[in-house]
């Protein structure tokens, strides 16, 4: 079914803060969109407004050409998965998953069939009669997922569903989530503060800050070509260097000159260089630097290098080469074209 979720000028005012400042967002059918940002940026408020759990102060929400923001949440046909799992503690797994179908007055035999199918999809068909407190966190979240999917919702909403799980469980559930969403093709909106989770799962990431959307794009676009410093620093590690700009070229602190791939007319925040894009070698390179610190992480090694008065972070992939020692002089190589960052100007000045 063609579902485009459309959020227009959505605003939410709490007593002393403006949690959402006129959000505009279009989500095409079948897309997996992540709302990413630090705590307090409004991503959960936005999700809850879409769900209908929170009433927006102003603005509209449209689904496939129908306006839904005045509808009560029970009428919106959205499935929602919560950070705290939110399973009904007094009902077993089967009854939990069946609940949404009962609310829709589906016939009993059909309920049984659909519940069984959903449980099989999440791999919990053996646990149908268990109570939530007899299940692990990961299992509970799978039940929550089955419960949300079985009603065949128009949109799936996720509120940091993996935050309460430990790291290994998080990874495996993350994979399953992605596979399932691709298979079922349900439009999904996923809130998280974890940028690696966002990049792993999303077709498109929406970066938020202080109640506004900073920018949006595919994970690759946002990672490699972020428009704003905020995005660059939120997604992964980044070095920001001041450089002399003239036209479409810049002069780096150690004298080398590079092309700018996205020149801007106005003053900017600086040049962004990802630590993994800087080449480091004991002898070969264009800039001189000294190793201040190193950290061996197994699959990669992180170095803190001081060069021409700047402190740079450099990451090298594993391999067999020796770890460079503290105090050792090294040579750095930068990529041929560099990326310029702009300052994000909020639409409204903070109160």
């Amino acid at each position: 079914m063609e579902t485009t979720l459309s959020v227009r000028h959505l605003t939410k005012q709490f007593e002393s803060t403006r949690a959402l400042k006129g959000i505009n967002l279009e989500v095409p059918a079948g897309r997996f969109v992540t709302l990413l940002g630090p705590s307090g940026c409004g991503k959960t408020t936005l999700l809850r407004a879409i769900a209908g759990i929170t009433d927006p102060t102003a603005g509209e929400i449209w689904l496939a050409g129908r306006r839904i923001d005045a509808l009560a949440p029970e009428k919106r046909n959205f499935g929602m998965v919560f950070q705290t799992y939110a399973l009904f503690p007094h009902m077993n797994v089967e009854k939990n998953v069946a609940f949404g179908l009962e609310m829709r007055n589906v016939a009993k035999p059909e309920i049984a069939a659909r519940v069984a199918a959903a449980l099989e999809l999440v791999g919990l068909d053996q646990h149908a009669r268990r109570l939530p407190r007899q299940l692990s966190g990961g299992q509970q979240q799978r039940v929550a997922l089955a419960r949300a999917i079985v009603i065949e919702p128009d949109v799936l909403l996720f509120d940091e569903p993996l935050s309460n799980l430990d790291a290994k469980l998080r990874d495996s559930l993350r994979e399953d989530l992605r596979t399932m969403q691709r298979k079922l093709g349900i439009t999904s909106i996923y809130v998280t503060h974890d940028q690696s989770e966002a990049m792993a799962l999303a077709d498109e990431i929406v970066v938020m800050k202080d109640g506004e959307i900073v920018e949006r794009g595919t994970p690759v676009d946002l990672y490699r070509r972020p428009r704003f410093r905020f995005t660059a620093e939120f997604l992964g590690l980044t070095n920001v260097i001041e450089a002399d700009l003239s036209g479409s070229e810049c002069r780096l602190p150690w004298g080398a000159v590079r092309k700018i791939e996205n020149p801007a007319e106005r003053a900017s925040e600086g040049i962004a260089i990802r630590p993994e894009d800087i080449g480091i070698d004991a002898a070969k390179g264009e800039a001189d630097g000294v190793v201040e610190q190193s950290m061996f992480l197994g699959a990669s090694t992180h170095y803190w290098i001081s060069a021409a008065g700047q402190e740079l972070r450099v990451v090298t992939a594993g391999g067999q080469s020796d770890i460079l020692a503290t105090g050792q002089p090294v040579k750095l190589t930068l990529p041929p074209a560099l990326h310029l960052l702009k300052t994000f100007e909020p639409a409204e000045t903070p109160a």
Partner: protein, 280 residues
């Protein structure tokens, strides 16, 4: 479709109207009527079908204030309630501490026993202690009333304090002890201050319960010693119904209670009391 007021805002309005309507009908109107009774003019009277007295006077208040029994009863009630509250708090704290912090085999039995005075109808306790105290010469004394009321207030205080103390992490006491404090000092200087919400909540509840308590004070104290609540009974349940005096005494009873109540509302967290009462 233009939505003037959102769906949930409309239900909220109806709900608010219903709630306040209930309050007005069941609370403000009756209290208002009693207030009118306290100010009516006995020379004229206030008979049906008049909804409001035809003339007002302060004579009922004059009677009350000049009555040599009423003000002493009021002072007595304050005194008794204060002592009961302090006594209950002192007795309850060590027991609550044991229940909250120590593991021991008979704990469930102790919990049930502490609960028992709330299960057995209070009048049974009142009547039996009434007879025992009569034999001991404690009947009709202030001490007797204090002792019997404490039986009623102690279970709740123990439960509230236990719930509060369970919320204090044991690591705090251990940290104090590693810093050199002997166990009792650690408890008095760390746990006791941290338990103050429980003391406040329980103390206020106890004071109120004691001030308005009737059955036990009646069985043990009357007729020699009468708390204010018992005194009120004599104007309502005796030979004749003395409405205006009763109305005035009612206000003497109610106003301190309401003041304490609103202070408590400011200070107290409501879940403390629900925690103490919430599970049997």
């Amino acid at each position: 479709m233009a939505i003037g007021m959102r769906h949930s805002q409309r239900t909220q309005l109806w709900v608010s109207l219903g709630l306040y309507g209930y309050l007005i009908l069941t609370l403000f109107v009756p209290l208002g009527v009693i207030a009118l009774w306290a100010f009516y003019d006995p020379a004229v009277g206030w008979f049906p079908p008049d909804i409001v007295p035809r003339s007002f006077s302060l004579s009922a208040w004059g009677d009350v204030l000049s009555d040599r029994h009423i003000l002493p009863s009021a002072l007595l009630s304050f005194f008794v309630s204060t002592v009961v509250t302090l006594l209950t708090a002192t007795l309850a704290f060590p027991t609550a501490w044991a229940l909250a912090q120590f593991p021991f085999r008979l704990k469930r039995a102790v919990e049930v026993f502490v609960l028992a005075p709330m299960i057995v109808p209070g009048i049974v306790v009142a009547v039996s202690l009434g007879e025992i105290f009569f034999g001991l010469g404690l009947a009709g004394t202030v001490q007797g009333i204090i002792l019997v009321q404490t039986v009623g207030t102690l279970p709740l205080m123990i439960r509230i304090l236990t719930a509060t103390l369970e919320g204090i992490p044991n690591e705090l006491i251990l940290a104090a002890r590693t810093l050199g404090a002997p166990p009792r000092v650690a408890v008095m200087r760390i746990a006791l201050p941290l338990a103050w919400p429980g003391f406040l909540a329980g103390g206020l509840l106890n004071f109120i319960a004691s001030f308005e308590e009737f059955e036990k004070s009646f069985m043990v104290g009357a007729p020699q010693v009468q708390t204010l609540a018992v005194r009120l009974w004599s104007y309502l349940g005796g030979e004749i119904l003395v409405l205006p005096t009763a109305a005035a005494v009612t206000f003497l009873l109610l106003v301190p209670m309401l003041i304490i109540f609103f202070i408590a509302e400011r200070l107290m967290k409501e879940d403390v009391m629900a925690a103490g009462l919430g599970k049997l």
